[in-house]
């Protein structure tokens, strides 16, 4: 049977996940092991690391060398970045966001976490729950990653002892409860020996749960688990009058991606921020009419009425609109979803500290507005989770910040919607992205 005939009929989509931990926890070895055991490593790469391992006098191939680029950077003190790696099992495609784990790289972890649907938090079985474990867990929770897997690694160095695993599991659960982390799974493994990664191995017989890859294969895709409100930020407007085709003369297509929920042709919709009501006349994609469009699908919407819409407006389903409790100071508009004031958790990414006197630019969905800082309520010490007073914010700081906005934004709370609840802060003078925020 040829390889292509073995590709399954059902494609289980794509899962983006994040690995948190430092080199010392065996993170590089874990990633190397996943890539190696799923055959994502090409022969030339494997040959290169085999030679390096031999040169260093190692008995087995050191799989952590596959992510060696990061280590080299660290030695040279260059900014360490998120690296993206890919593998596929034939059933599912995976994108790993590999972020370094040290405290000064909070901004990298926040970046990597922003697109992940699952986080693997690595714990060294010899060391148990550490400060960095708490930090990683808090950030994964803050960034709204719905699935957390705590991988208790280096079981080979504690004689594969179940008691060690159970003790760490207990410690973690106790601390997770204080954060409000709900869905956590635990798995004992040895990345070095490949136990419980793709294969179960023979030394962890007391563990009855699934191996790591089985967890990944079975994790529900983003947007699949609950009902979501339909959100469609308009990206681009298609008016092809010049095409010389009279049928297209009045064509006005609103192009964008369904950020959450779904829409069916004929549904009644609201245009935000104006509040205009109309209906979806058709959902089009590359010359075809679709009955419905689901989350993450890029389509073109045609509307019944000629309404004034521009890039940055948002189309929502009329009956599914859940009004937010208006925050104090919210400028009253047709719905509470549209606001000129946001309360946020902000992670500062810029090398230049936040200047509370300055105006910044906020980009949320496809919309931009100038923003002023109304207050910095507190800065969070991410190791102790203590709240500290703050006048300004430096790189990697996380704080509760309220903004006043020059133009209204159409928002949801980040906890309920990771697309319409997220924003970036841009320094207009340098054009740089200096902050990332989550709307409360």
């Amino acid at each position: 049977m040829s390889a292509i005939e073995r590709l399954p009929e059902i494609d289980n989509g794509l899962l983006r996940f994040l690995t948190c931990g430092s080199v010392d926890d065996g993170k590089s070895t874990l990633i190397g092991r996943l890539l190696y055991d799923t055959k994502a490593i090409l022969a030339d790469t494997l040959q290169a690391i085999t030679r390096t391992s031999e040169r260093r006098g190692l008995e087995a191939v050191d799989l952590s060398l596959l992510t060696d680029g990061l280590q080299a950077e660290r030695e040279q003190g260059i900014t360490i970045d998120v690296a993206y790696r890919y593998f596929s099992t034939g059933q599912r495609k995976y994108i790993i966001a590999d972020a370094p784990g040290h405290e000064e790289y909070t901004r990298n972890m926040v970046t990597a976490a922003s697109t992940a649907n699952l986080a693997i938090i690595l714990i060294d079985a010899r060391k148990g729950v550490l400060t960095q474990t708490r930090r990683h867990s808090y950030l994964a929770h803050l960034l709204g990653i719905p699935h957390i897997v705590v991988a208790i690694n280096k079981m080979d160095l504690v004689d594969y002892a179940q008691a060690t695993y159970e003790r760490i599991r207990g410690d973690y659960l106790e601390f997770a409860a204080t954060l409000g982390i709900g869905d956590v799974r635990f798995i004992p493994l040895s990345a070095l020996n490949g136990d419980m990664i793709v294969d179960r191995g023979e030394r962890l017989d007391w563990y009855q749960g699934p191996a790591l890859l089985d967890i990944l294969e079975d994790t529900p895709s983003a947007h699949s688990e609950r009902d979501e409100a339909f959100r469609f930020p308009v990206q681009f407007i298609c008016r092809p009058q010049q095409a010389g085709d009279p049928k297209l003369h009045d064509y006005r297509g609103f192009m964008g991606r369904v950020e959450s929920g779904e829409i069916v042709a004929g549904d009644e919709v609201l245009i935000l921020p104006s509040g205009t009501r109309t209906r979806v006349k058709a959902i089009e994609f590359y010359g075809r009419s679709l009955l419905r469009a689901i989350a993450e699908q890029s389509v073109t919407l045609l509307l019944e009425d000629e309404v004034d819409i521009s890039r940055g407006d948002m189309i929502v389903r009329a009956e599914k609109l859940c009004p937010r409790a208006p925050a104090p100071g919210t400028v009253s508009t047709r719905t509470a979803l549209v606001t000129r004031r946001i309360e946020t958790m902000l992670c500062w990414l810029g090398e230049t500290p936040l200047d509370a006197q300055r105006k910044y630019l906020i980009r949320q969905t496809t919309r931009e507005t100038k923003a002023a800082i109304e207050s910095i309520d507190y800065r969070l010490d991410i190791n102790t989770l203590q709240r500290m007073p703050a006048e300004s914010l430096g790189m990697n700081d996380i704080a509760r910040v309220a903004f006043r906005l020059a133009r209204p934004l159409c928002v949801d709370a980040y906890a309920g919607n990771r697309s319409t609840g997220a924003f970036i802060v841009i320094d207009e003078a340098a054009n740089n992205t200096v902050g990332a925020g989550m709307i409360l």
Binding site: Y36, T38, S88, S114, V198, S224, R257, I294, Q297, T433
Partner: protein, 307 residues
Amino acid sequence: MSTLALQQHATLSHLDWLESESIHILREVAGQCANPALLFSGGKDSLVLLRLAEKAFRPGRFPFPLLNIDTGHNYSEVIDFRDSRACQLNERLIVRSVEDSMRRGTVVLKSPGESRNKHQSVTLLEAIEEFGFDCCIGGARRDEEKARAKERIFSFRDEFGQWDPKNQRPELWDLYNARVHRGENIRAFPISNWTELDVWQYIERERLELPAIYFAHRRAVTRRNGLLQPVTELTPARAGDVVEELSVRFRTVGDITCTAPVESAADTVARIIEETAATTITERGESRLDDQTSEASMEQRKKEGYF
């Protein structure tokens, strides 16, 4: 328990997801940039980009022209393909050539037969300046090499076109920042998250036509440093070379002087996918790391088309 039973709502297949992400990126370029261009070589990745642009913008025309930097050392099949595809799509194609830069004196070759690949960037910068492009859309992928694994989807270049790894913008969620000052430039990579296998699967699904040199054909080649070197006017056989006629295909197409074909009998997209997928979906159970089996599996991969 089957995975699908856990899912209450339908989600996209992996190719549909990648396609949709790429369309979203292309529309963000169109929405944020005043004067973008799409780099189009006639190669497979840029042909995928064109299909994605059709899906992003039809029934409208593309909100950007196609830009090709011609080294003058390209296979004629690829150049013909480039021209006919642009014509079929009824989109504007701008061609700027390295040979014009040589005549202007902005590109100086050390030797006449030298690879012109690296000189393309001079001509590209000249084109960017000539037309005032603020963004160039390209078909690079993160799986291509180690250094690319950290590249942004919207990559910032200064007025000299330089990529400074220390001066890249954090990229969170899918909130891209394409703002530049005059003279600066963004390179946008809509298929960053695609692998080579994804590209081939998409080509098959969309039934995209490709230049013939991507498929197995008989070609006179010599072996140099473990790679095959096609025998052409630009790359004649040297004294002592053994010229063989082998069945080969190109995995990438670029400057003739530095693009090596691989030995292959894959003459259809399905067979190319089979070769590309072989290492990722066979023998999943094999996982021991001792040298012997590592060597053996490497052999296996080489046989199946990898170098």
